[in-house]
C-alpha cells in the first residue's frame, strides 16, 4: 500500500486487512515506519515489532530496524556464537548510513520471510509514500547490484523472486481525487513500470465526495442555487442561505473530484497502452464526521463492500 502523503493510505491498508480478516483469512498488516499511521488507522494501541492479534485473524506489527536486524540474523545466518547481538548495532548503523538500502532490505526481507513461511494468507504492508516506495520495493535488486557475494546476496535473490511475482505481490496505490495526488499517482505508475519489476494490483480513489443530488433533484434545485434569480430568498427564506453556500461547496467539490477521477482514468488507460495491464480502480466515499471511530468504521465497511 502506497500513495502520496495525506491521502489515507494507512486507513485503506487497515480497511483492506480488516475486510480480509472478516472473511476468515489469516492476515498480517505491517507498518513499515515506526510511529507510522497504522496503529491509529486500526484503532489499536501502540503496535510493536512482534505481531499482535488486534481482531480475530488480524495480526499487526510495526517494523523496527534494530529488531528486524536481530530477527534476520536469528532466522537466516544461524550464528549462535553471537550471544550479545548488541555488538551488531554500531556496525549495522555504520553500514546502513553508507548504504541505506541495507536498512530497507531488512524491513522488506522480514515481510518476505513471512510470505515465504506461509504463516499468513495475506500480508498487507503500509509502505513508504509515493516519493520513496520505488526505492523500497526495488531495494533487494538495487542491493544485489552492489553486494555480489555473501549471505545478503543470496537473501536478496529470493526476496526479489517474491516481490517480482505478480501472483504473490502487488502494489496498491491510494490517491484522492485532487490534482496533485492524481498527478503523483500517474508518475508513480510510470516509475514502478520503468524502475522496478513489481506489479501494480490496483488504484484506490479515496474520499470521493458523494453526489449531493439525483438528476431530477439537480434540475429542480438549479434555479434556486443561481443567486441571480433571487428564487432562494423568495421561496426558501434568508434563514437557510448558509445551506445554499454549503450545497454549492459540496456540488463543486463533487464536480472537481469527478474531473480529477477522469484524469486518473485517462492516465491509467495511457499507462496500459504503453506498459500493458491496466490496474482496476476502486472508489471509496468521503465520510464526514468529527468522530474518528465513525470515519474508520465507515471506511472499513465501504472497502468490504467495494471488494465484494
Amino acid at each position: 500500500m502506497t500513495g502520496k502523503g495525506g491521502v489515507g493510505k494507512s486507513h485503506v491498508a487497515a480497511g483492506i486487512a480488516r475486510a480480509a480478516a472478516a472473511r476468515g483469512r489469516r492476515v498480517l498488516v505491517a507498518d513499515m515506519q515506526a510511529r507510522g499511521g497504522l496503529a491509529a488507522a486500526l484503532g489499536a494501541a501502540d503496535l510493536g515489532p512482534a505481531p499482535r492479534e488486534v481482531a480475530p485473524g488480524l495480526h499487526a506489527i510495526e517494523m523496527d530496524t534494530g529488531d528486524a536486524l536481530r530477527e534476520y540474523v536469528r532466522l537466516t545466518l544461524r550464528v549462535p556464537w553471537i550471544a550479545n547481538l548488541s555488538v551488531l548495532g554500531p556496525v549495522f548503523d555504520l553500514v546502513a548510513q553508507a548504504a541505506p538500502g541495507v536498512r530497507e532490505v531488512l524491513g522488506v526481507g522480514k515481510l518476505c520471510w513471512e510470505v515465504r513461511a506461509r504463516s499468513y494468507d495475506l500480508v498487507v504492508v503500509d509502505a513508504e509514500s509515493s516519493g520513496h516506495v520505488v526505492a523500497q520495493v526495488a531495494a533487494p535488486s538495487s542491493l544485489a547490484a552492489i553486494i555480489t557475494a555473501g549471505p545478503i546476496a543470496g537473501q536478496v535473490r529470493w526476496m526479489s523472486e517474491i516481490l517480482e511475482d505478480p501472483a504473490r505481490t502487488g502494489v496498491v496505490v491510494t490517491t484522492t481525487c485532487e490534482e496533485m495526488p492524481v498527478a503523483e499517482t500517474a508518475e508513480l505508475l510510470e516509475r514502478l513500470a520503468t524502475r522496478s519489476r513489481v506489479a501494480v494490483a490496483g488504484v484506490v480513489a479515496n474520499r470521493v465526495p458523494r453526489e449531493p443530488f439525483t438528476v431530477d433533484e439537480a434540475a429542480w434545485i438549479a434555479p434556486y442555487l443561481d443567486a441571480s434569480t433571487g428564487l432562494w430568498e423568495r421561496d426558501l427564506g434568508n434563514a437557510s442561505a448558509a445551506a445554499r453556500d454549503a450545497t454549492l461547496l459540496w456540488r463543486d467539490r463533487r464536480a472537481a473530484a469527478v474531473e480529477h477521477l477522469g484524469v486518473l482514468r485517462a492516465a491509467i488507460a495511457d499507462h496500459a497502452r504503453r506498459h500493458g495491464g491496466a490496474p482496476d480502480v476502486y472508489l471509496l466515499p468521503e465520510i464526514v464526521s468529527p468522530d474518528r471511530a465513525i470515519v474508520r468504521d465507515g471506511l472499513a465497511a465501504a472497502i468490504a463492500e467495494e471488494l465484494s
Binding site: 502520496k4 502523503g5 495525506g6 491521502v7 510511529r35 507510522g36 491509529a40 545466518l77 550464528v79 555488538v87 554500531p90 556496525v91 555504520l94 553500514v95 548510513q97 553508507a98 548504504a99 541505506p100 538500502g101 530497507e104 509514500s129 516519493g131 526505492a135 538495487s142 552492489i146 553486494i147 555480489t148 557475494a149 555473501g150 549471505p151 545478503i152 546476496a153 496533485m180 498527478a183 508518475e187 449531493p212 443530488f213 439525483t214 431530477d216 433533484e217 429542480w220 434545485i221 426558501l236 427564506g237 434563514a239 437557510s240 448558509a242 445551506a243 445554499r244 453556500d245 454549503a246 450545497t247 461547496l249 459540496w250 456540488r251 463543486d252 464526514v288 468529527p290 474518528r292 470515519v295
Partner: protein, 372 residues
Amino acid sequence: MILRGPESAGFDALVDAGVVIVCGPGGVGKTTMAASIAARAAATRPVRVLVLTVDPARRLATALGLDGLGDRETPVPAGAFATTLPPGDAPAASVTVSPIGTLHAAMIDTKASWDDLVARHAPDAETRDRVLANPLYRNLTERFTASHDYVAMERLFEARRAGGYDLVVVDTPPSRNALDVLDAPDRMRTFFASRLLRALTTGSRGGLAALASRPIVEVARRILGVRFLDDVTEFFALLRTMEDGFVARAGEVSAMLRAPDARFVVVTTLEEPALGDATRLAGELRGRGYPLAAIVANRVLPTHLTPESLTAASAALASRPGESDPVARAALASVAAAARDAASLADAHRVALTALRAHAPLTLETPLLTRA
C-alpha cells in the same frame, strides 16, 4: 496561486526573514504554500528570493506555473507571480502589480549536489575521482532516500552564503521525514566522530585485513560479504579525507537553522491525520530549538459557514410548510444533508483551530478553494 484577501497580510511576518523552512504532513499544500510565500516576498519586497524543493515528487514547477524545473536555480518570469498579488491591502480580487524583487526556483538533484560537495571538499583531484567512481558512493547518492536530507540543508546554506539570496524558502518532504532533514547536519558530524568509522579506516589500505581478527569486523563480514566490506572500507577511508570540510560545514548549517532570521512554518489542513502529525511536528521543532514562526491552517471553510449558521439553515429548511412535489422534497432534503455535512466539518475545523493556536505564536488561515 493563493495568499489573497486581508488575511494574507499576516504572511508578512514570514517573508521578512533570511530562511523560511516550510514543513508539515503530506498532502496539505506545502509546496504551493512555499511557492506562495516566496512569490509574495519577491513581489512586495526589493529582495532576491529562492524557493527550493527537496520533494522528489516534482510539484514545485506546477505550483509556480513553470513547465519544468531542475537542479539549476532558474529565474521565474515576473508574469508568473505578478498576478498572484494582491497582497492583503489591495481592494480588488486581482490586480496586476509589477514585482519589485526577483524569484528563482530549483528542485534539488541529489546526485549532482553530492558531486559538487565532493569536488569542494576533496583534498585533491585523485581522491575526488576515486570517490565519484566508488560503487557505494554512486548507489548512496542515486538510489536511496536518506542522502537527500543532508544535501538539501547543504544547498540551503550555499544559496544563502554564496548565492546572494536575501531569502531562501525551502519546501521539505512530509513531516515524518522533515526532522530527518533538519537533523542531517548533526548526524553527519556524529557519523564522522564515530569510533567504528575510525577503527574501520585506520592504518594502511590493507587495514581491514589487519582488523580481521576483531569480532566486530568478523560479524560484519559474515553478514555483508567480503567484497562489499572492502568497498565500504575504501569509501569510508576516502570520506575521512574530507572530514574537516564536512564537519565544519555541518556545524555552520546547523547554526543557520537556529539563527534569528530563520522562520519555521508548519502547514496543515484541519483534518486527521494531518492535524495530529502537524501538532506533533510543531512540538518537536520547538523541543529542538528551531524557531517556529507560524502554523498555517490550509483549506479552512469560509468564515460565515459556522456550525451554528449551517445547523440553523438546515433546521429552517426542515420546518418549511410541506412541498407537494416529491422531487422538490427530495432536493430540499439533500440540501439539508449537505448543510449538516458542512456543519460537521465546520465543527471539526473550529475545534482544530482552537487547538492549533496553543502550539504557535501565530496561526494563519487560508481558504478552502474548490476550483484551481
